[in-house]
């Protein structure tokens, strides 16, 4: 292909990638080393608050931002190096807790608490999603041709539901006197509170994520199953291989690139876990890294937000994803190089 044609085809997408991926990333990267402060002054302010009958006025010294001639707040941006990262990671407290050998103390620091949950969430759901997805795919593949269509349709449904809506519905099913909680209470005769302690919330989250993502794995695996070499499979049958041996030695090796692909996507997706935290209102017990960034970004009633810490936290999340992806990516790279020769 001529270079000109090549550039004309690839140019737009490179431009988009620079504009929508590289530039924001760069700006977040820069902001994580900066702090923008508002210049404040202390003035005496008299504020009046209505009571039911009369007003009460109080005069107090308030710290308020200075406004310039155009009525805008004056801000000053300064470089603070790794200060924001330190504020997020709180390494001094972390090492102190490690020194005391106290796991509980480490879990009191928001970042490490969030990292613990994010990692266990990502790594525990991964085998479950692949396993359940493969199981559904094999079942559907072996089902009678006439019912395959409806079965595929029904098993895909969980994947179509928006995560926020999905987690909210699980929340309403299991909270206090939700339908499922009431049913379980009737069976067991005890009072069940799924959202009163961390572990039950986490179990619900794992369950929800697997329910939500397994259909995606299923579709990919089902497509892969259609390409299994029938000759190999038949000769395995003739050699007396059991169902399990055929799966173990023929089907799974054939599907390996797809398994790596699913793992890759799942790791990337799961590390960004956020909807479950919001939907399940689990902030009191369990938080994730993405939620932490969101929490820094959310302005309070007075309009303050921690942009620098949010940027640092976002960068740390990205670094975390890169670490997680190294393993499956190396494998894909090796396979890719292998097949080229």
């Amino acid at each position: 292909m001529k270079f000109k044609t090549f550039a004309a085809f690839v140019g737009p997408s490179i431009f988009m990638m620079l504009l929508f991926i590289a530039a924001p990333l760069l700006s977040v990267f820069i902001q994580s080393f900066q702090e923008t402060i508002t210049i404040q002054e202390q003035i005496e302010v008299e504020t009046c608050t209505p009571g039911f009958v009369t007003q009460t006025c109080t005069t107090e010294i308030k710290t308020v931002p200075v406004l310039d001639d155009n009525g805008k707040t004056i801000t000053e941006t300064r470089w603070v190096g790794l200060q924001s990262y330190q504020n997020v990671l709180q390494m001094d407290k972390f090492w102190e807790a490690v020194g005391n050998g106290s796991w509980n103390d480490i879990m009191q620091i928001d970042f490490w608490k969030a990292l613990r949950f994010t990692l266990s969430f990502t790594l525990l759901t991964l085998p479950l999603v692949i396993g359940v997805g493969l199981l559904i795919a094999l079942t559907v593949n072996n089902a009678a041709r006439s019912i395959r269509g409806p079965v595929i349709f029904v098993s895909l449904l969980p994947f179509i539901i928006t995560p926020v809506i999905g987690s909210l519905s699980i929340y309403w099913l299991f909270v206090g006197d939700g339908i499922l909680t009431s049913m379980m209470e009737r069976w067991t005769g005890t009072n069940i509170s799924m959202f009163a302690q961390a572990w039950t919330i986490e179990v619900l989250m794992y369950f929800y994520r697997v329910w939500h993502v397994a259909p995606f794995a299923f579709v990919i695996f089902y497509a892969g199953l259609q390409t299994v070499n029938m000759d190999t499979l038949e000769s395995a049958v003739i050699d007396g291989a059991s169902r399990w041996e055929r799966l173990r030695h023929v089907i799974i090796p054939h599907l390996m690139p797809l398994i790596v692909f699913i793992a890759l996507i799942h790791l990337m997706d799961c590390y960004r876990v956020f909807e479950e935290i919001v939907g399940f209102r689990s902030q009191a017990h369990v938080i994730s890294l993405q939620w932490l960034t969101y929490d820094f970004m959310t302005p309070d009633d007075a309009g303050n937000r921690a942009i620098s810490r949010a940027s640092a936290s976002a960068m740390l999340t990205m670094i975390g994803i890169v670490f997680l992806l190294i393993l499956p990516l190396r494998r894909t790279w090796r396979d890719h190089k292998g097949s080229a020769h």
Partner: protein, 406 residues
């Protein structure tokens, strides 16, 4: 053809809803407002809409949208609904205009009590007061021979009796959802024990005797509430009341009207209101006073501001209040306090009176720190002393970033 018919039907239904009858003038300047979405705001914006060319956005996320929307030039909304908690960013960035001239021109019906003055200038017009008050099932307390509790000690004593009698699922309801709600519970309790949030140099002062007492009192509630109290917000507690699951709660007075709404409540006429309980003997009720009201954006033309204020005055007139008397503790003329307002009025007129929620930059930072650090105490992961230290640390980090320290 079909499309045309639908468009026509839409146009006619729009015409039908725009009844100009109740408004004293016909507004021709397009006006938009952004406010919270509870019952009182609905009544007020519905009345404003009667003047025409008016569009209301009722959104519980208004507090995050408002500062940026008002900073735009021209501002995206002309009218903003605020409370003493949420007016801070608007005052700080100077995006709302002083209303003195408009009040002089159109504000004949306003009482001086409604005018929110900051340094002598009128910056907002209040329409209602809000505070927490004690809501309780009068039938249950009467059956068990319990006097109306006036302090938190009495609340827990009453809760013990109710629990023993087993007449409701949980004796107490509490708005302890992690984040803003649980922080507000502490903001109510802590000044009740005589605590100050800040020292003179803006450093945090919650690590104190009063802080420990406030935490102990909050923790005690857990014996009597739903085990899932850390996910329960005001709406959740309101519903627990309406379904007869709880007997007492220190809840927002703006939620009182819902108890007698026969369409959704099973306890109509059974919930009575009393002053918010005191935290300690001789102290103020453990609550904070709030007001809700309107502000006008600065970055709009004077003509728009004029029209916006006139429309707002139509929303805040006696007619609106008479149509929605139970929706709030109105400050507007024509309001007839009913029984459900008794608790809030008793709270607001208590001696010593509870403090108003402070509208300062530091309080916003403190509120966030409280909301993030308190849950670990109530789940039992951290003791009271460590929690107070963690709150101060979290506040210090964000206060440095916001440049309010040193």
């Amino acid at each position: 053809m079909f499309l045309k018919r639908i468009a026509l039907a839409g146009a006619i239904s729009l015409l039908g809803s725009a009844a100009f009858a109740a408004c004293s003038f016909e507004n021709e300047v397009p006006i938009k407002s952004l406010s919270a979405g509870f019952e009182a705001w609905k009544a007020v914006t519905d009345a404003m809409a009667e003047c025409g060319s008016f569009q209301a956005e009722l959104d519980q996320e208004f507090r995050t949208k408002q500062p940026a929307a008002f900073e735009a030039n021209p501002a995206l909304y002309q009218i903003g609904g605020v409370s003493n908690g949420t007016i801070t960013p608007l005052l700080n960035s100077g995006t709302i205009r002083p209303l003195d001239d408009l009040v002089a021109k159109y504000g004949q019906n306003l009482s001086p009590n409604q005018l929110i003055r900051v340094n002598g200038q009128i910056m907002a017009v209040a329409m209602m007061v809000n505070t927490q008050h004690l809501m309780y099932r009068s039938d249950i307390l009467a059956d068990l021979g319990i006097e109306t509790p006036t302090s938190w000690d009495e609340i827990y004593a009453a809760a013990e009796k109710i629990k023993a009698a087993g007449v409701v699922d949980y004796p107490l309801g509490a708005t302890m959802k992690s984040g803003w709600n649980i922080a507000q519970e502490f903001v109510n309790m802590y000044p009740g024990f005589g605590g100050d949030f800040f020292n003179d140099d803006n450093t945090a002062a919650v690590n104190s005797e009063a802080g420990l007492k406030a935490l102990a009192t909050m923790e005690k509630a857990l014996e009597y509430t739903d085990p899932e109290v850390l996910v329960s917000d005001s709406t959740y507690v309101q519903q627990q009341f309406q379904q007869g699951k709880i007997a007492m709660a220190n809840l927002w007075s703006s939620r009182a009207g819902a108890m007698n709404d026969a369409a959704e409540s099973q306890v109509v006429g059974k919930v009575a209101m009393a002053a918010a309980p005191v935290a300690m003997e001789g102290g103020a009720p453990a609550t904070t006073l709030w007001w809700d009201g309107i502000v006008i954006a600065k970055n709009i033309s004077d003509e728009e501001a004029d029209a916006a204020f006139r429309v707002a005055m139509e929303g805040l007139d006696a007619e609106t209040v008479q149509g929605a008397n139970e929706a709030a503790i109105w400050l507007v003329q024509g309001y007839e306090p009913t029984e459900i307002a008794a608790g809030a009025i008793a709270t607001a007129s208590a001696n010593p009176a509870p403090p108003a929620y402070p509208s300062t930059t530091q309080m916003g930072l403190m509120h966030t720190a409280l909301g993030n650090e308190l849950p670990a105490f109530l789940t039992g992961e951290r003791d009271a002393q460590a929690t107070l230290e963690a709150i101060e640390e979290a506040y210090t980090i964000s206060a440095r970033e916001a440049n309010v320290l040193e």
